[in-house]
């Protein structure tokens, strides 16, 4: 039985991951901004699992509240073995281009709030010398593209932050997982036309659990995105400039 803090728990991917944890008996502390959704999820997890399920309503952009929330989670579960950060918003790129305020807001939600949480969690996990910290970043962070570079650059920041954190925490025996999903069929992408590259949240969830149980590191999910992104990262800038990606 593990004690797991899930931040942004009402996300479809986080919800599917929480089910896998609950089914094997883990105790869960779920944080999200919509209490109705949290209660529906918690009720479901209580039927599927045997472990404790506690919820907390919090807008994660309220960064001043992060420290107290983590303290409450640690107290409720009597310790933490793992934390998963999953919240995010798929920025409206063209709206961001027209608004500094919106661009900074998207960076705040997708990068700064995660970095605030990670700074606090890192110190706790480093001191306890065990556990796993996982964050859902994105393949979009591997290279900025005109269609979503605001979101992409926020995810790039998270990815780079985690890469450094992984090095630091390795010495303490704490694993750090960077999850890079490709296209996933969730409410975030409900307006998109789906094709063969699309994955279901359950698949991504299984990959996340596998990585969190293992040694940590960067994962692409589904796996083939590693190769797609390898190619995209290596397209020379002169050609890339002319692509419509």
């Amino acid at each position: 039985m593990k004690k797991i803090l899930i931040i942004g728990a009402t996300s479809a991917i986080a919800g599917a991951t929480a089910r896998l944890f609950a089914e094997r008996g883990d105790a869960l502390y779920l944080v999200g901004r919509n209490n109705d959704k949290l209660q529906v999820l918690a009720g479901d997890l209580r039927v599927r699992g045997r472990g404790q399920v506690v919820t907390e309503e919090l807008d994660l952009n309220d960064m001043a509240a992060h420290e107290a929330m983590i303290a409450r989670a640690t107290a409720a579960l009597q310790g933490l073995d793992a934390a998963l950060i999953a919240h995010g918003t798929l920025s409206d790129q063209s709206a961001c281009q027209a608004s500094v305020e919106m661009t900074l807001m998207e960076i705040k939600t997708n990068a700064l709030s995660a970095i605030s949480l990670l700074t606090l969690l890192a110190n706790i996990f480093e001191a306890q010398k065990q556990g796993c910290i996982a964050v859902i970043s994105s393949v979009a962070g591997d290279r900025g593209r005109q269609s979503n570079y605001v979101y992409g650059s926020a995810k790039a920041m998270v990815t780079a932050f985690l890469s450094g954190l992984r090095q630091r925490l390795a010495k303490a025996g704490v694993s750090v997982v960077t999850v890079k999903p490709g296209f996933v069929d969730t409410p975030m992408t409900s307006g998109f036309k789906k094709g063969p590259l699309w994955a279901v949240p359950e698949k991504v969830a299984a990959d996340i659990v596998h990585a969190m149980d293992g040694k940590g590191g960067e994962i692409y999910t589904p796996w083939f995105w590693r190769f797609i992104m390898l190619i995209i990262r290596h397209i020379p800038e002169v050609i890339f400039k002319r692509l419509r990606l």
Binding site: A12, E23, D36, K37, V40, L41, G43, D44, V47, R48, P187, S190, G191, F192, K193, K194
Partner: protein, 431 residues
């Protein structure tokens, strides 16, 4: 919202539809997408024809309505949202000593779909249809009215929605009664029969002693040979072992199913010897679920299932006639299932099962030849006041539907004005 091509299980029809995801059970009824004049709930698309499709209109997916609400392991009462799959229910309840009171031949269907088609299983002679075990549900109408429906409360809506093929509104959550079991094992007996007469005798002697009874027919000729399965939940309580799953990843360019492969399959299957065995419930109830997307073996043109029920007073003679028609038309059915239905009534006014015997036949979509055969089969069914199962249908005439479901007039008054389906428009044409 996006246009998508969703197919039903038979894969014959591929019409684009606007897909809307119901965000949550408590969310308000979503607006119709611009350009769509109607909408239809969509579970897992395990219906074979066009009763779960709405070409040119919108489909309201229930995949986000997949949460359990409560399960009382002392009483076996389960409450869950309508998009929860039977497979998930089994995962939760079997380890706690409970089982579905009725299950169709696949566990990848939603409870909403199971209610809308009032599905039946191999235990119809004991437990009746799925609707007999539904205690309550909430129905969300397009005018945002929420009706709690049960045998006592809004009883007419309860009756219209069970077997109501998704047309009366969206079921958001349901309360179901499960049945107790000792463990995941089944005690199964397998017997060969070499005529429909023998099938009839086996059915008569088995119904009182066995909870589950079903037969696979060898359709390579008109004799009426087959294999009879009868089973009970075992008292054995041994540990759970999960069988292996395979999946057909793509649609092969041609159909692998032809008369030769069917003969081969039936011959091999007939080699299976008589006897008793203990089986896990998964391969017993869901032999095809082990091969994901097996429906793709029929190739890009897809296939039809023809399922009828013949009222008990006509015995098995019409079945014999149907087998003769199949063989006369030079067709063969890969999977042919024969089973008796009991007399337990369902609360659903449009429920398909009635006391008698049901025959289900699968045919590749070979165009005109298979349609000719269907016309011949329809004539036999109509002649004995039988009816076809909308969950499996993609082609029956409006006349046959209306003759089979005389309560149609009354049912129509419960149809939500914003709801429609390909099936509904087809069978109500000219009405």
């Amino acid at each position: 919202m996006a246009q998508q091509i969703l197919r039903s299980w038979g894969r014959v029809l591929a019409a684009p539809a606007d897909v809307v995801d119901m965000p949550a059970a408590a969310a308000p009824f979503p607006a119709l997408p611009a350009g769509s004049s109607s909408l239809l709930p969509f579970g897992k698309g395990r219906s074979y024809g066009d009763s779960c499709l709405n070409p040119g209109g919108a489909l309201l997916r229930t995949k986000n309505l997949d949460h359990f609400i409560s399960f009382d392991k002392d009483t076996g009462i389960l409450v869950c949202e309508a998009g929860v799959q039977l497979a998930d229910i089994l995962r939760v309840i079997v380890p706690q000593g409970w089982f579905l009171p009725v299950t169709p031949g696949t566990r990848f269907v939603t409870v909403g779909g199971a209610i809308a088609n009032d599905v039946h299983g191999k235990n119809h002679h004991r437990n009746g249809a799925f609707g007999c075990h539904v205690r309550r549900f909430e129905l969300l109408r397009s005018n945002n009215e929420r009706l709690i429906c049960s045998a006592e409360e809004n009883a007419d809506w309860f009756s219209a929605t069970i077997g109501g093929i998704g047309l009366t509104g969206l079921i958001t959550w349901v309360e179901l009664q499960m049945q107790p079991i000792s463990g995941p094992w089944m005690d199964v007996e397998t017997l060969h029969f070499s005529s429909l007469d023998e099938f009839g005798k086996l059915t008569a002697e088995s119904d009182s002693r066995f909870e589950y009874v079903v037969a696979w027919l060898d359709c390579s000729d008109a004799v009426g040979r087959g294999i009879f399965f009868r089973a009970n939940h075992s008292a054995e309580t041994e540990q759970y072992k999960k069988p292996l799953c395979l999946s057909l990843p793509v649609v092969p360019p041609v159909s692998f199913v032809n008369n030769l492969s069917i003969k081969l399959f039936n011959t091999l299957y007939n080699k299976k010897s008589d006897g008793s065995s203990r089986a896990h419930y998964e391969p017993f109830f869901y032999p095809l679920d082990g091969v994901g997307n097996w429906n793709r073996i029929y190739g890009p043109k897809g296939f039809y299932q023809y399922q009828c029920v013949i009222p008990a007073r006509h015995g098995l003679a019409p079945i014999q006639e149907m087998l003769a028609a199949v063989s006369k038309n030079g067709m063969s059915s890969f999977l042919s299932v024969l089973k008796g239905f009991g007399s337990k009534p369902s609360p659903g006014m449009m429920s398909f099962p009635c006391e008698g015997v049901t025959l289900a036949l699968d045919f590749a979509n070979t165009g005109a030849s298979v349609q000719r055969l269907f016309a011949a089969l329809d004539e036999i069914v109509a002649g004995v006041d039988g009816r076809l199962y909308p969950a499996k249908d993609g082609r029956m005439s409006g006349a046959l539907f209306r003759a089979g479901y005389p309560v149609l007039e009354k049912f129509s008054t419960f149809v939500d004005p914003a709801f429609s389906s390909g099936f509904w428009r087809r069978v109500m044409e000219g009405k």
